[in-house]
């Protein structure tokens, strides 16, 4: 039986009167790339901090890689890039990675080779001997990402990993996440950049006011939320109400009808039905609902404030 990478049961954190995270239950499998989405202040970072033992949960339970939260040994197999990455800026990039490697219990030649490899991977080899204080935000984020991968982690938390990066840097992060997926590493990605999530993640959870409001697989996103637009003449009320068999949210506006279908298979069936009813069809088009539209639909236009 495989152990889940992240498993939480009603994890809750209350600051004074304010519940930052209220009873969050979530399971993430090993090897999965999981997107954690939600508006600012929804409790995303607090949730990650509870998992990593930085913040003590008020109540609830959780496990990382099968070990209960707070287990130190398991942290040796976990990587973490915090949102507000601030590192010891008086260190050089090489020394910084050396320090964090040693904190993880790595040493000697293996650590040195790993540092070489990672600096190369994030494109910072020429800056190895430069102090971090001279680094730009994007460079710090790259070195932070390298730091999170030093121990070949089984589980990596990336809190807004692309916030300081230019398009080239973002692409690099995307590629690294792909590589991690191929290596079987579980990536827990916390991001506002929905297009990023859409490209990289297997599953996403929407979180609002400290609760998971929806979890869905991105493979099913395409099917489950295809919007069909039909331009036709001869549509009657009876025909429109019949179409509810295949889809929902049917809107007719003159010659144009839009509806959402559960599965792509419904589209030829609708077409056949309309032709049988004597409707003249001029065009049928299918568009997939983007994650962004789904996000707005799920958390609301107010951004959950």
């Amino acid at each position: 039986m495989t152990v889940t990478a992240i498993d939480t049961d009603q994890l809750r954190k209350v600051y004074g009167e304010f519940a930052a995270v209220k009873g969050l239950t979530l399971q993430v499998s090993q090897g999965e790339v999981f997107g954690f989405l939600g508006p600012n202040g929804a409790g995303k970072t607090t949730f990650i901090k509870m998992l990593l033992g930085l913040v003590k949960p008020t109540s609830g339970r959780g496990w990382l890689l099968g070990a209960p939260l707070g287990d130190r040994a398991v942290l040796a197999r976990v990587g973490f890039l915090p949102e507000h990455f601030r590192f010891q800026e008086w260190l050089t990039a090489g020394e910084f990675l050396q320090l964090h490697g040693e904190l993880l219990g790595l040493e000697g030649k293996a650590l040195k080779m790993r540092i070489d490899g990672l600096l190369d991977r994030v494109g910072l080899t020429p800056f190895r001997k430069k102090q971090l204080r001279t680094f730009s935000k994007g460079m710090l984020q790259r070195v932070g990402l390298a730091q999170a991968l030093l121990n070949h982690p089984a589980l990596v938390f990336l809190d807004e990993p692309t916030s300081g990066l230019d398009p080239v840097g973002r692409r690099l992060v995307r590629e690294i996440i792909q590589e991690l997926r191929e290596e079987g590493t579980c990536v827990f990605l916390n991001s506002h950049l929905l297009s990023e999530i859409e490209i990289t993640c297997d599953r996403v959870a929407f979180i609002k006011h400290g609760e998971v409001v929806r979890v869905l697989s991105l493979d099913s996103l395409a099917d489950a939320h295809a919007q069909v637009t039909i331009c036709a003449t001869g549509l009657t009320e009876a025909i429109l109400s019949d179409m509810a068999r295949w889809g929902r949210d049917i809107h007719a506006n003159g010659q144009e009808v839009t509806l959402f279908v559960e599965k792509d298979d419904a589209i030829p069936e609708i077409t056949r039905y309309l032709v049988e009813q004597g409707v003249d069809i001029y065009s049928i088009s299918r568009s997939r609902q983007s994650l962004e539209e789904l996000f707005i639909e799920t958390v609301g236009k107010d951004g959950g404030l």
């Binding site: 130190r72 942290l75 890039l81 507000h84």
Partner: protein, 275 residues
């Protein structure tokens, strides 16, 4: 690690430059005063009384130098640790550290040990320099020198540890305010105690003891001067470093316990803190 941080952040450099400057000024001052008194002593025909004055003056000047060195070490102790945890928590640097497989207590202990080492070296430079300067110019060595210096070191450690405990719970600025406030309180308390004992005012002495219990830094300095002060000066009560109401061994034991408690508090607060 913390050693390297101190070096990179130019704390050590600042400490060294000012420390050397301090020693230079002190040595020149000592030379001038000592030469003056020596001449007077020679003019007086090298009488026993004048030689005694020379010796007591050396003792006084030594203690004055050590007093300044103590203050600098105490301030260094507070400054080193005031920002360490508070600053790293505030900037978020601590997050990647604590998310590693380490005990939080080891993070605190590691910092404490490094600071203790740094303070030791710093005090050795300043106080050792003062003692050496006096010795090479006049040949004077105070009694119980090692004991006195250890007490001064204990005082600096106390300040550093207490600042570390505050730093685990408060901002750097609040920490600085608190520790220097308490230090000032203990300082004033110490004087009230001394002056009170001149007039045999028990209440004043008790006020002093109470402030020492609250923050035993000044008491350590008092004990240190008591140890190093020559018997003649003590009897004659002729310098500000003469200690009339001497903190006893219980107070020293209390200070050591206080230090350990502060360290335990630092660890405990840091362990329970949400970062």
């Amino acid at each position: 690690m913390t050693f390297r941080e101190a070096i990179r952040r130019k704390i050590v450099l600042a400490g060294l430059v000012l420390g050397v400057l301090f020693l230079a000024v002190y040595s020149i001052g000592f030379r001038m005063i000592y030469t003056e008194i020596s001449l007077e002593a020679a003019a007086a025909g090298g009488s026993i009384a004048s030689l005694l004055v020379l010796r007591e003056m050396s003792n006084f000047l030594l203690l004055a130098g050590l007093y300044a060195a103590t203050f600098l070490s105490v301030a260094m102790g507070a400054l080193l640790s005031a920002d360490t945890l508070a600053g790293e928590i505030n900037s978020g640097t601590i997050q990647t550290i604590v998310a590693k497989p380490l005990r939080r207590s080891d993070v605190v202990l590691g910092k404490w040990l490094a600071f203790a080492g740094l303070l030791g070296l710093y005090l050795l430079l300043l106080a050792g320099g003062v003692v050496a300067s006096v010795y090479f110019q006049s040949g004077f060595v105070a009694q119980n020198l090692l004991r006195g210096l250890l007490l001064i070191y204990l005082e600096a450690l106390l300040m550093m540890t207490f600042a570390l405990a505050c730093s685990s719970a408060m901002t750097a600025l609040a920490t600085g305010g608190t520790v220097f406030g308490l230090y000032g309180l203990a300082f004033i308390g110490g004087w009230i105690e001394q002056i009170g004992s001149i007039f045999n005012n028990q209440t004043a002495v008790q006020v002093g003891i109470a402030t020492s219990l609250l923050f035993p830094t000044e008491a350590m300095w008092r004990r240190a001067t008591y140890e190093m002060q020559s018997a003649v000066s003590s009897v004659l009560q002729m310098t500000p470093f003469v200690t009339l109401s001497v903190p006893n061994m219980v107070m020293i034991a209390y200070a050591v316990l206080y230090l350990l408690a502060a360290l335990a508090l630092a660890i405990r607060t840091f362990q329970n803190r949400d970062l």
